[in-house]
């Protein structure tokens, strides 16, 4: 493994994990899902169990199913599995093991590599529109309008290996920090409403709820499950109702979002990422920040696929522990390390112990 770059190592781990979770590749040819006994085991990442290749259960789907079942109304097993994954890996599951995270990175990479003609048309239209409006307004603001956009576009436009695999961060003209931070709360709302409350309380006459996140939102179900199954069984299309077309619309929004914004679903919408984010203080895999070694270049923030600043503790729940910032940090101030389960400190303690967080951050502003 020593010969491989950190980038290649992570991609190898991601691909291996995706293959292990989806080992029944024959299912794609037959259009039938795997029905072996191993399917009672929850996999760590978001991986639809209706995908013909899936050999394990999606923890989010399993949790909703159990909550919706009047016989149980609770799932000790799934909660225990989530706690175990969260304790050991936390959101490193997202950075290293989740097939849907990998899918988003690959899709983003394809877009960066092959979406240039579409982007050029889009940029051309914008420039024409802005030129029109400048004509009306007497041309003021030219220096900060299209030029700034071009510059930002350039940072994502070139294609090294990282870009091609979707690792390059979002374009420079992203939403303001405060607004974007609020958008990231959507995944907690989805977790509370669609994964927990609705399966528990929105029940039919017999007391049965439904897995509402799967039913109304999850794009993984459509892309990993519906697409391969319907290709092999087109007769099922006759069952498609308004829910199917609603989910098809969500898939289109997801694909557009994931093309424009690295890990769009993980940042804003995924309840499973929200659950793992809750473990960020105690998980054994930690991103450590040494404020004394930080040279204040801001590279970590620039390369982060989650668009966060790893020097600030308030963003730690969003960090997927991909290690990209650590690999690029010129001062060696960031390290992705497994910590001793009982002896070592959490990232946050490290943060405060070495230097108060205001010091490096103030220097950077």
């Amino acid at each position: 493994m020593g010969r491989f770059s950190a980038f290649t190592k992570r991609k190898l781990v991601q691909c291996t994990a995706a293959l292990l979770s989806n080992a029944n590749l024959r299912g794609f040819a037959t259009g039938r899902i795997y029905q072996g006994k191993a399917k009672w085991i929850c996999v760590p990442g978001l991986n639809c169990y209706s995908c013909p290749a899936a050999v394990g259960a999606c923890p989010l789907g399993a949790l909703q199913t159990m909550l919706a079942d009047p016989q149980y109304k609770m799932s000790f097993y799934v909660l225990g599995m989530l706690a175990a994954f969260g304790l050991v890996l936390g959101r490193a599951v997202c950075g290293w093991l989740c097939p849907f995270g990998l899918l988003q990175e690959l899709w983003r990479g394809l877009w960066v590599r092959w979406g240039k003609p579409v982007k050029r048309i889009w940029a051309g239209n914008r420039r024409a529109a802005e030129a029109g409006s400048m004509g009306v307004e007497g041309g003021h603001g030219a220096a900060v309008g299209p030029d700034k956009h071009e510059g930002a576009g350039d940072t994502t436009g070139s294609g090294n290996a990282g870009d091609m695999a979707g690792d390059r961060r979002t374009s420079g003209d992203r939403p303001a920090r405060g607004f974007e931070k609020r958008l990231r709360h959507i995944k907690y709302i989805f977790l509370g409403v669609f994964v927990v409350l609705m399966p528990l309380f929105a029940v039919d006459a017999f007391g049965f709820g439904a897995p509402y996140f799967c039913e109304l939102i999850c794009p993984a179900g459509m892309l990993e499950g519906a697409l391969p199954i319907l290709v092999k069984n087109p007769g099922l299309f006759r069952l498609a109702g308004w829910v199917f077309w609603l989910k098809a619309g969500i898939v289109v929004v997801f694909l557009a979002g994931a093309a424009m914004n690295t890990r769009f679903f993980c940042k804003y919408l995924c309840p499973l990422g929200a659950i793992y984010g809750l473990f960020h203080r105690i998980s054994l895999v930690q991103l450590r920040f040494d404020a004394v070694s930080c040279v204040g270049c801001g590279t970590c923030e620039k390369v982060c696929p989650m668009d966060i600043d790893p020097r600030k503790p308030e963003w730690r729940g969003e960090c997927i522990r991909c290690g990209k910032c650590a690999g690029r940090c010129p001062g060696g101030a960031l390290r992705l390390t497994p910590s001793h389960p009982l002896l070592e400190s959490s990232c946050e303690q490290n943060h405060h112990r070495i230097a108060p967080p205001t010091k490096p951050c103030a220097k950077l502003r």
Partner: protein
């Protein structure tokens, strides 16, 4: 999180995880998860 507190939190979550998994297996939840997972979930694929 201070070292001692962190240690306690990790032990507590570890015990929580192991006991919950054991309780779930004992309640037969794994059979329900299996039953759901071996059939195509119509909700997941938008047909339910």
């Amino acid at each position: 999180m201070a070292g001692r507190k962190l240690m306690c939190a990790r032990v507590a979550v570890g015990l929580f995880a192991v006991s919950f998994i054991a309780a779930g297996v004992w309640r037969g939840e794994t059979v329900s998860v299996l039953r759901k997972a071996v059939n195509v979930c119509l909700e997941c694929i938008g047909l339910g």
